[in-house]
Assembly symmetry: C2
Homo-oligomer: 249 residues x 2
């Protein structure tokens, strides 16, 4: 029997879950998928993901991997899991990877997207999948602030407490606001890594600037203060999507 | 104190509800809205809608009306209700109408739309808002069948049982399939009225024809048989939307 390492690429709607990571008294995405792999393999698998996502946050291309002694093909895992999993989790791809592949440590960068509906009326059908901001927003101001994040910075100001003592310096490859397209704004951030609530704290602060509640000049001051108490409002989870995780050199 | 008749135009996501109409042991849209009007008026209002919608069916432009002795303006009702109602119900408009306006009896015609996602992969974020049909569909066949419904017909074959003894003859002003647009098909039907489950029975039968499980010629035979046992599968509720109700001459 061979020890194999299987990598999954998956999408989920985070609405019903306490987030990616297993918790004692709440349903996590990790627990649901592990329980279905256990049915298929009769093993007790342990999934490693590229990173956690919080309660209510969604994924289009989360990546995880697990070790198994089963002889099932990756395609069989994909088909089997998709037939066992609830309708809000979908496995887009499965492949066998080298034994030392680790979804988190091997991730070179990640892309997140935040979706805002900027019009007076809400969209009742998308209420769990975007943030509805009914106020007029100064988009050029927001774009200028956002693009000032590109490059390498200490993001202490945009990190939420309870995130431990990890290095707060991150390199942002891309920080872009596009739209409006049918009332929708998309804030895309790609970086070598993200601190806890970093995208939501950036988006919340950007919206305060777009609404004119915070001066544009404050944005750089907040970033440079490296003080987590200086940032603005944290945007709600339901607008946030983990879009893609990049591997390789 | 004057007796006033208030008309509301509203949208709702039917996912959480047992349908429009009040039921003993389940939450209906009617009950939720009536309870909020009661808070605003201290009355016990009775809402009349253009017609019921079933559990899981949505509305973009349902119409209902209620009688009140309150002096609140229609705008105050709209604003107040939108602040009290849950996020899956939204009042698009409110106006005072003549005392004899009746949302059901005065309705001249209605437009329904059915939304199908026709591609192999599901869309986990829209799972409650469309019907996912992963099989290839012969759209020209489906379009021909659908357009044969335009005009006046006896729709007994496409009515579900338990619908009473109402006249099964309906006049279809429009029956149209559009798409695919990004994998989405839209089936639009406009008629002077609809029988119980009529759109879902038509759509279910059309999809069987599109998949090649039923011959195209059978569609007219089913219609002309006037036998409710002859129609095919009933499409699921979550793809159906009451789009608009038309009044006036």
């Amino acid at each position: 029997v061979t020890r194999r390492n299987i990598k999954l690429v998956l999408a989920y709607d985070g609405t019903r879950y306490c987030g990616w990571q297993r918790q004692k008294n709440a349903l996590s995405i990790q627990e649901v998928i592990e329980s279905k792999i256990a049915i298929m393999t009769r093993e007790a698998p342990r999934l490693t993901a590229s990173g956690r996502t919080d309660a209510g946050v969604h994924a289009l291309g989360q990546v995880c991997n697990f070790v198994t002694f089963s002889s099932l093909s990756p395609e069989a895992f994909q088909r089997g899991l998709n037939s066992l999993l609830p309708e809000d989790i979908f496995i887009h791809g499965a492949e066998e990877v080298s034994p030392d592949f680790h979804s988190r440590f091997a991730a070179r960068s990640k892309r997140y997207r935040y979706r805002i509906l900027n019009r007076s009326d809400p969209d009742i059908f998308s209420r769990n999948h975007l943030w509805h901001v009914p106020h007029p927003l100064d988009l050029p101001k927001m774009k200028r602030c956002l693009s000032s994040l590109e490059g390498t910075h200490d993001f202490s100001s945009f990190r939420s407490s309870g995130s431990g003592n990890t290095n707060p310096v991150r390199r942002i490859h891309r920080a872009e606001l596009t739209g409006p397209q049918g009332g929708l704004l998309y804030i895309t951030m790609e970086a070598d890594g993200f601190l806890r609530h970093m995208v939501r704290n950036v988006v919340g602060t950007l919206v305060e600037i777009g609404r004119g509640k915070t001066e544009e000049e404050r944005f750089i001051e907040i970033l440079e203060s490296r003080d987590r108490r200086s940032a603005g409002f944290k945007a709600p989870p339901q607008g946030l999507y983990l879009v893609e995780v990049f591997y390789g050199e």
